[in-house]
Amino acid sequence: MKNWLRAHREALGVAGRRLAGTPVSTLLGALVIGIALALPAGGEMVLANLSRLAQYNAAAPQLSLFMATEAGRKETGEVEARLRRHAEVREVRFVGREETLKRFKTGPAMGEVIDSLPRNPFPDTFVVIPQSNRPEAMERLRAEFARYPKVEHAQLDSAWASRLDAFLRLGHLLATFLAGLLGIALVAVTFSTIRLQVLTQGAEIELSRLLGATDAFIRRPFYYFGALQGLSGGVVAWLIVRAGTYLIDTPASDLAALYAIPFRMAPLPWSESAALLAVATLLGWLGAQLSLGRHLRVR
């Protein structure tokens, strides 16, 4: 057991020295793998954040009714009364136009624009949560409410969420597809670096065999080499995604604030970061395995 551990530690050491011995190609290899992995990993990170955004609103599907701006207090009151009596309505919340104006004035960047307007552009609004959240029932209610007097516009707020949801599912599919392709690319990169390694170490491999090295002894450093290269690529990918998160965070939360959504970009969670590194390492190992099977065949 002690010997076995030492053999592995030594193989790891040999692999590390080989990587350190050619710093430029090591760095380039890590960059190639890192960039390739950053694409699906970054895509997943963005999609995960968008999903969070979708959940923020999709949890309680609701209808928004916008009154015409010329609608008076009486007409608005009538609409509110009808809504509250309606059997299929669970909850009604009134958002007055003055309140909306105040909210937008304090929001970033919008204050000056609103101040320059001659009058309050916002209508009175009802936010309606129906009893049923089945799409067809909601659509029927929306059509009904749209016919109420002085109701300018009625909209299903969950429509964008379900569209976003469909888009996200497509996105996940693409990211998975991309991950698969680029995973193959990683294996291919390792495959060819290990091939070069085997060629340059040819004399040493031959000599080691003559001196009584087992196949395992000869292969071990190459496995570690592949795994370390994969791992370094994974680290580069993680750094790229982390930097991306940092850069997108401010503009994304500014944008979300315009929709009154408190939003911060979440970086890759630790579990997924660990998975990224593990997969990168594993793929490197796999590339080494395939390459050795091909290039280290014994007569």
Binding site: N3, R6, A7, E10, A203, E204, E206, L207, S208, R209, L210, L211, G212, A213, T214, F217, V298
Partner: protein, 216 residues
């Protein structure tokens, strides 16, 4: 200890290197193999650590038939045999010390013990002061002695050497022959294929002459 029983070796292309050879070496014996180029000296030596496999016959090393040895068992056979190759096979990107260390790393000797043994082996061939030198910085004779140090560092019971004095001047060659004699004197079985049998003549070693793959 090493016994060849009706051994034939035919290389692909129909070249017969050895034909029906029966021969044995005692444990602790020193023998020189002589004969013209292509007489089969190298082939005979290569059969012992299973670098080549015979076409017919058995080669018994330490009671084991090497000719029938499984591939997975070959590394362990080779660790018990020290080899000095015709082309030395030194690693030029490693120091003298690291070159001699290689067989011990392969055998899984702990680094602390290995260091001592490497220095002992270098000392025996008179290269202790050059342990940090790269092989390229060593003279031809020193390179050959380095190759011998690597062959004996794992304390094999058998030492085989293929033309260890080729390309060396008279003095260096005599020096190398003495090194082999020293190992023989401490009980190692030594087999040397050489064109310079006279170098070993003073040690009264057994001489095996091959001609066209047969004993002559």
């Amino acid at each position: 200890m090493i016994r060849f029983e009706q051994v034939s070796k035919r290389y692909s292309g129909g070249i017969d290197a050895l034909t029906d050879l029966t021969l044995s070496f005692e444990s602790g014996e020193m023998a020189v193999l002589v004969g013209h180029s292509g007489a089969g000296k190298s082939t005979l030596l290569k059969l012992i650590p299973a670098i080549e496999r015979p076409s017919h016959g058995a080669i018994i090393v330490n009671g084991q038939n090497v000719a029938a040895l499984k591939r997975a068992a070959v590394p362990f056979l080779r660790r018990s045999i020290g080899m000095v190759f015709q082309d030395q096979k030194l690693l030029f990107d490693r120091s003298a010390f690291e070159n001699v260390m290689l067989p011990l790393s392969i055998a899984g000797v702990s680094p602390r013990d290995a260091g001592k043994r490497v220095r002992a082996a270098l000392d025996k061939v008179g290269l202790l002061e050059r342990e940090k030198a790269m092989p390229i910085a060593l003279s031809g004779g020193e390179q050959q002695r380095l190759a011998i140090a690597r062959a004996v560092v794992a304390r094999p019971a058998v030492l085989i050497a293929d033309e260890p004095t080729a390309h060396l001047d008279e003095a260096c060659a005599r020096d190398i022959a003495m090194v082999f004699r020293d190992f023989h004197q401490v009980g190692v079985t030594v087999l040397v294929a050489t064109h310079h049998a006279n170098l070993f003549a003073p040690f009264m070693t057994r001489r095996v002459t091959l001609a066209h793959g047969r004993l002559a």
